[in-house]
């Protein structure tokens, strides 16, 4: 019985003019486009330099900034007001104001100050930009100190140089960080929301009535709906693994079995969520709206873009109920750190609990709807 239901589902899916193409297009989008688009590294910040010193060192500082991949020298201005105009016109994002006597003060007094102003309309760009700029200026200061001290014959203060080292993602590549998490979104759509819409569409067209008067058990009907998407989900997951290895050389560090086990647990979780939505909606429009609602909230509090630890406490509490959160953690841990089963069992247990609640609720509400 179940076999025929599944067979029918596959036939319908592949006969659909749209869905099979989407199923294939999704992983390619997720791998080829999204990781670049969601990149949060800030590059190409335009800087206007207000050099009021016109000395060798002030020139050296502006050249050093221009040479960095993060900054472009947008131009020079003579006064702060003139510099602000370039910001207002959108030609520059930051101002570097070097005061008169910059070099003189450095040499004589060993200290001076410069002003960095950043356009903070885009907080990300403004914040990170000032950070980068600060680092470059510090570096510059270090260089100068190294030059001055031996020349003056003084024994200076010890110089501490910080060399950061990225572990698990050596080049701090944002794509490596994003891909495992984006796969989670992909699986959510394929195994959670697609079957939900499928079931609601049977409701809307009325075919579910025709099935309901046959001896087909509701349980078989639902399984017949879910299994094809589980199969498709696992296929697409495998495809994504292959593609990410091929394109980015990103190979999961952890055990593949652990990863697939987590995928299975996650699939049953989101399927439950999808079923729940399909139980409570009688039209596609309702279902779509509810799905958007959940998808947006789940993504925003999943730690996909922003770290959960920096959210306010109440928002962190919300994330405990978000299956996406756990799966994204699992995926990042297994992919990048090579975490094994013992490292991720807490997240896995939380996922299983979500699955239990969602599936159970779906099952009970499904009975009632009869």
């Amino acid at each position: 019985m179940l076999r025929y239901l599944i067979e029918k589902e596959f036939k319908q899916t592949f006969r659909n003019a749209f869905i099979p193409k989407m199923i294939l297009a999704f992983p390619f989008m997720v791998l080829l486009v999204f990781p670049w688009a969601t990149n949060q590294e800030i590059k190409n910040i335009n800087v206007t330099v207000i050099d009021r010193d016109h000395s060798a060192w002030s020139k050296r500082l502006s050249e050093k900034i221009g040479a960095s991949t993060y900054f472009n020298l947008a131009g020079y201005a003579d006064s702060n007001d003139e510099g602000m105009i370039t910001v207002e016109d959108g030609k520059a994002d930051m101002l570097l104001d070097i005061p008169p006597d910059f070099e003189k003060n450095l040499v004589n007094r060993g200290e001076t100050s410069i002003m960095i102003s950043a356009n903070a309309v885009n907080i990300m760009k403004g914040g990170l930009g000032s950070g980068y700029m600060n680092a470059i200026v510090q570096d510059f200061a270090g260089e100068i100190r190294a030059e001055i001290i031996p020349a003056s014959g003084k024994t200076g203060l010890p110089l501490i140089q910080v060399i950061p080292q990225g572990r698990f993602n050596v080049f701090l590549d944002y794509k490596v960080f994003m891909i495992p998490a984006l796969i989670v979104i992909l699986m959510t759509l394929l195994c959670g929301f697609l079957p939900a819409l499928n079931i609601v569409s049977e409701k809307e067209i009325g075919t579910i009535e025709q099935i309901n008067v046959t001896p087909v058990r509701k349980f078989s009907f639902i399984l017949g709906k879910l299994i094809p998407y589980w199969v498709i989900g696992l296929f697409v997951f495998t495809l994504t693994l292959g593609l990410s290895a091929l394109i980015y050389g990103l190979v999961p560090q952890g055990n593949l079995l652990t990863i697939y086990l987590s995928v299975l647990v996650y699939i049953t979780t989101v399927s439950g969520l999808g079923l729940l939505i399909s139980n409570y909606s009688s039209t596609m429009q309702q279902a779509m709206f509810v799905i958007f609602f959940f998808l947006i909230i789940f993504i925003l509090i999943s730690g996909l873009f922003t770290p959960i630890s920096s959210m306010p406490h109440w928002a962190q509490v919300f994330t405990y109920f978000n299956p996406l959160r756990y799966f994204i953690e699992i995926m990042r841990m297994t992919f990048l750190k090579g975490s094994g089963f013992m490292d991720i069992w807490r997240q896995l247990a939380a996922l299983a609990a979500c699955a239990f609640v969602l599936d159970g609720w779906a099952l009970i509400s499904y009975r009632k709807s009869h």
Binding site: K8, K11, Q12, R15, E209, Q210, V213, P215
Partner: protein
Amino acid sequence: MKDDVTIINCQLINKAQALKDVSFEVKKGEIFGLIGPDGAGKTTLFRILTSLISADSGQATVDGLDVATDFRELRKHIGYMPGRFSLYQDLSVEENLQFFATIFNTTVEENYYLIQDIYKQIEPFKRRRAGKLSGGMKQKLALSCALIHKPVVLFLDEPTTGVDPVSRKEFWEMLKKLKTEGVTIVVSTPYMDEAQLCDRIALIQHGKILSVETPEKIIAGFPKKLYQAHSENNYLLLLEVRKNPEVKSAFMSGEYLHIVFNGEADETVPNLKEIGPSIEDCFVYLIEN
């Protein structure tokens, strides 16, 4: 199952669905018609009898099985064709039939004799997707799918609504043939002319059954004399006739006015002529009284 009786009693639904007091029996092997206007509660009644929804109170058995408690077993014994086409539009004619045969644990071949006459007409298009069929062909396919497991009782909810007159006639021919195969058929329709084709009919209005009889007996039970009349402007005539205190009821039926008088006929009404009542006349009379 006692004495050839297939369907017994069903009662009360309140709330949104407007079934008030419904009670009737259907005998094995008959064509039983549920006749009533839109919103009379026909579809609700069908959905209860096919176990899709449950009644607020009351009981109903189909083929000896309680629709509320034995619905699992019941579903093997009934065929249901909803008013709206509810087969898979993206599967072909053949695949739909195959699918419904397999989920009923049977094969197309096993009961092919039952649907042969119907299916033969759509067989040339068997590779076409169901969604691309014409209205009449869709209906034939739906009937084939509802019959493929050889149901004891076949429920047809307004099968001829929106179907052209020729196809409607054909469809009733098919039902007659099915009857000879021993299938009990419960069919609903808003068309009074189709009532005559049933063995027995139940007139239903506002969730209440007005009468359950053979069409002949319902007509014979018409208590008054019925007259027809017509003039150049039937509408004006109708308004005028209704003002007449002698007139019990008057309504339009096609080109004529049908009039029932309280006592003797008023001969001043133009072109007055006594006629035999139709089911429609009986239905209108029952509603008004």
